[in-house]
């Protein structure tokens, strides 16, 4: 295959994955240093009404409330709280926390909204698999994007290595980075 074609393929595949790589790089640093990048402030609060089925379990009731409110997100079951006639829980997705307070007798529900902010959303792309309950089509396609991005990243990496070995290889680079390659494997084996 011609060198110019290989370079083009390497560039196309690199451009396709560039945004994901930047998000992944920033997220890796955030995770490694356990940085808390989520904003916690409640920005808005609103009220609504839902139908309450007293027969439902806590989890089903929380899911039913979320669906009636048209909200997107997971519901951490370990945060369920029942206080007298009130049922409190949280709905969460990479961009938001919704704190929900439901009146079990009347069906009145109060929702406090806490957006997590840009850095948290950017970081959240690392974990996004498109399978958030009630997610729209756009977010569900992320699973496909992620799958292709990983595959194309692999191709880009192999092409880049091939171009280096074929056209730009210098012995000292081979020794230095070959050593780092083996050292990295050894480090993993020692964990």
């Amino acid at each position: 295959m011609k060198k110019s074609l290989l370079i083009k393929l390497h560039i196309y595949s690199g451009l396709f994955t560039s945004f994901y790589l930047i998000a992944f790089g920033i997220s890796a640093i955030i995770l490694n240093h356990k940085l808390d990048v989520e904003k916690k402030e409640l920005t808005t609060r609103w009220n609504s009404e839902v139908e309450v089925d007293p027969e439902l379990s806590d989890q089903k009731l929380a899911e039913s409330t979320r669906d009636q409110l048209g909200l997107m997100g997971w519901i951490p079951t370990w945060e369920f709280k029942r206080i007298n006639d009130r049922f409190k829980f949280r709905i969460v997705h990479p961009g938001r926390n919704y704190h929900v307070d439901l009146n079990l007798n009347k069906g009145d529900v109060s929702i406090a909204d806490a957006p997590k902010g840009f850095v948290a959303v950017f970081h959240g792309l690392h974990f996004l698999n498109g399978k958030i309950p009630n997610a729209p089509f756009l977010l569900r396609t992320w699973a496909v994007y992620q799958w292709f991005t990983l595959f194309i990243m692999l191709i880009s990496l192999i092409l880049g290595l091939w171009l280096w070995l074929k056209y730009r290889y210098k012995p000292w680079e081979g020794i230095a980075f070959g050593g780092l390659f083996l050292g990295s494997i050894l480090l993993m084996l020692l964990l």
């Binding site: 959303v121 992620q146 480090l187």
Partner: protein, 194 residues
């Protein structure tokens, strides 16, 4: 961009990628293993529980590390906390194992619960393993993760700069970059504002 600058950027791009090849390959492979986790279901995790009677002096202060090594409690220290009944819980984790050590309130009994992960989960454990602390290999691994993070950013940014030099007028390349930006931007925008 003159040739000297171009060559420096090309070297940064090359060295940033070469320095993290193993980690990048590991992350790509383990990402697919996580996506298709059900395909890699191996044996169940194994749990081994042992109870040891001790004298408080054997596990207090500097003696703890000696006790830990003697009883092969491996992994990086994760956290410790007291239960409501006053027991002290210490947790240690590695890519393939997890130790939960429970020390009784009177410091005379230690329960060591070891969870050994199966092969697939151990490999995935490398993907999830992170953070500083513990012995030198854990800190080196954490340092490499920082190198990976920084290299990925440099790698992507220098790649775009090199493309602008080499194929600035290539319409396919522009289309890929713009479509990628619009798609990722739309996902971020949706998560932020909707």
């Amino acid at each position: 961009m003159n040739l000297v600058v171009y060559n420096i950027i090309r070297k940064i791009h090359l060295y940033a990628s070469l320095s993290i090849v193993v980690f990048l390959l590991m992350y790509i492979i383990t990402s697919y293993m996580m996506i298709y986790h059900s395909w890699f279901k191996g044996d169940n995790d194994q749990e081994v529980i042992s109870e040891i009677k001790v004298e408080p002096a054997e596990i207090e202060g500097n003696s703890w590390e000696k006790f830990r090594k003697y009883h092969s409690i491996e992994g990086r220290f994760v956290r410790e906390h007291f239960t409501d009944s006053g027991e002290l819980i210490k947790e240690y984790a590695g890519p393939g194992s997890f130790f939960r050590v429970t020390i009784s309130k009177d410091s005379k009994k230690v329960e060591i619960k070891q969870t050994k992960k199966n092969l697939a989960d151990t490999i995935i454990g490398f993907h999830r393993f992170r953070g500083y602390g513990g012995s030198i290999q854990y800190n080196l691994y954490a340092l490499m993760l920082d190198v990976v993070g920084v290299s990925l950013i440099f790698f992507a940014v220098t790649g775009v700069i090199l493309w602008l030099k080499l194929l600035k007028h290539n319409k396919i390349a522009w289309a890929i970059l713009i479509l990628g930006f619009i798609y990722v931007g739309s996902v971020i925008g949706y998560l932020l504002y909707v």
